[in-house]
Point group: C2
Chain length 345, copies 2
């Protein structure tokens, strides 16, 4: 047995047909469970296929078949090693596999160039449809792909172009709810740490923050708002800046899971983690094991993935219903860090 080269030629329908003494078309019918083959011939074909170890070549079949299906979906996310992305992939995968569909994946790192390249690689493999997390900024590459007719569903962020389904969550509403919770405990100085403002989710969450302040009758203090933070280190520094203010915040809202980690780190370092309230967007593993346990807004990732998969599969099947923008509710999970009242100095 060779490791690779001299890879054995896979048996074809011709080989099976020859052994069974029928035509390739008859083999095709048997393999695809199509009617019009006698029980005896069916049996001979089955036996021949089995002895040869025949396995249909899906790529050849999809080339010829009229529907052109490859039974393969493209999934293009920001970073598949991020727990949010990988949980989403898993949900998509499960739903797809139950329809015999496999998933071709890629991570575009929120880089438009990379996204365009990966889109092309997926397209050249003729996937039946794509589930994509749009990069921040321009969605040109996506729009072009969509306009070529590729069935597409966006997740996490909606399209900026027409006629394309999406599945998102209640970014604005849930953030507002969190801010209102903090306000109801008596917090009047609530800091906000946000991701890149080019991202739709960041904008939504920031809007929710503003709405929450307004509903609570609090005025926005610009010095308590830090945005365009990339990653935990930036959040760590931003938190330090906020805490060094003459009038520091008594509560923090972090608009993304990595930012929550950074903020926590600084709070711990300063031994303020039991004195300053913290609510974060996006749950993360072990949030319940920290001290204090971290109150978060949890997206229903399995539902988002399942919904996206169901949408794309339906579109591939030819579903012509009007565009769908599904919004899956997120949930505020109270664990402790969000329930800390304002502390006297």
């Amino acid at each position: 047995m060779d490791q690779a080269a001299g890879r054995r030629r896979e048996p074809t329908m011709r080989d099976v047909a020859a052994l069974a003494g029928v035509s390739t078309k008859t083999v095709s019918r048997v393999i695809n469970d199509q009617p019009g083959v006698g029980p005896e011939a069916t049996e001979r074909v089955r036996a021949a296929a089995h002895t040869l170890g025949f396995r249909p070549n899906l790529t050849a079949s999809s080339l010829r078949r009229s529907d052109r299906r490859s039974a393969t979906l493209g999934v293009l996310f920001e970073d598949l090693s991020n727990p949010f992305d990988s949980a989403l992939l898993r949900a998509v995968e499960d739903r797809a596999r139950s329809s015999g569909v496999l998933v071709l994946t890629g991570s575009d790192e929120d880089d438009p160039r990379l996204q365009r390249e990966l889109l092309a690689l997926l397209a050249s493999r003729r996937v039946d449809g794509m589930i994509v997390m749009a990069v921040g900024g321009h969605q040109d590459a996506l729009q072009q792909e969509r306009e070529r007719g590729t069935p597409m569903v966006l997740v996490d962020r909606p399209p900026t172009f027409a006629n394309t389904d999406s599945v998102t969550t209640t970014n604005r509403e849930s953030t507002r709810e969190a801010v209102l919770l903090l306000a109801s405990l008596g917090h009047r100085r609530i800091g906000f740490l946000g991701d890149r403002q080019a991202l739709w989710t960041s904008q939504q969450r920031y809007t929710g923050y503003l709405e929450g302040l307004a509903h609570a009758g609090l005025t926005l203090r610009e010095d308590l708002v830090m945005t365009d933070l990339r990653g935990p280190d930036a959040a760590e520094a931003a938190t330090a800046t906020l805490l060094d203010l003459a009038q520091p915040p008594t509560a923090l809202f972090t608009a993304q899971n990595l930012l929550t980690l950074g903020a926590m780190r600084t709070l711990r370092d300063r031994r303020l983690h039991h004195r300053i309230a913290l609510i974060g967007f996006d749950d993360f593993p072990l949030a319940d094991m920290l001290e204090p346990s971290v109150t978060v807004i949890r997206q229903d990732v399995p539902a988002i993935g399942r919904t996206a998969a169901e949408l794309i599969l339906a579109r591939i099947e030819g579903d012509q219903a009007p565009v769908v923008h599904a919004v899956i509710p997120a949930l505020l999970i109270s664990r402790g860090s969000g329930e800390i009242p304002p502390q006297p100095d």
Copy 2:
């Protein structure tokens, strides 16, 4: 623009050839950067391809081409939503993409039936090779696939059959090292929590534990060993059992990341997390944020993924070197929980 049905026919090389006034073969040469086309014809083809928005159909090309390459890899892991698996996928993906190769994924949940099914789905799409985490127990399906000539690399666990590359880590050696560290601090009763013994990694780590005890001159106490634990809840219960012994352990070694979490939970509940030492196999996000920070053995996941990808890509290229069983060193990360000395009662 329709959502799906009536999907536009993609332009073909024939279309491009017609527009450029050349034969399809000339188009093929230009698209594939093959020599033997004049600069003028090349330009005409390029222009035609651009105006039509032509994109090569890789599935048709791979069907006809002599090397049969689909530039696609199959990746079959236990659970892509597990941080270990997804980090591995990401590493594989990055290395593959730099060679223009995409990855078709699947999660088999360590279920032999599912693994067999997914292997068949991958094979019917004629992936060039597979990177697989073998399920515990029999590797029949894998071996059969391998014997058909499919290039294959196993990760995390080695093959039980011949002639197949693998990439694993220093399970035994690193565990031994951890146990020796605990012993050097004066611990004489070191508990062991292990995953299913059917898994090769579990066996290796248990062997390392035994070696560590032996090297330290400690005798094995069977009542301190709990194996075949599936998931954090089982570990939680097992830890409670150990702590209830007349002579409870003063240190614990947990042989898998989920088990570490379970053990920690019980230690916290009993307020023993600062009194009983703990070292876990596999790092996990936030291990450094807990109190105390958790000492772990960290696998070099990016190196494992990259190595596996490089191996499979080389085999696909026809590399005939002898079988490789790469072992990537793991690292003991001291963070605090593993450095707690034995406490007087």
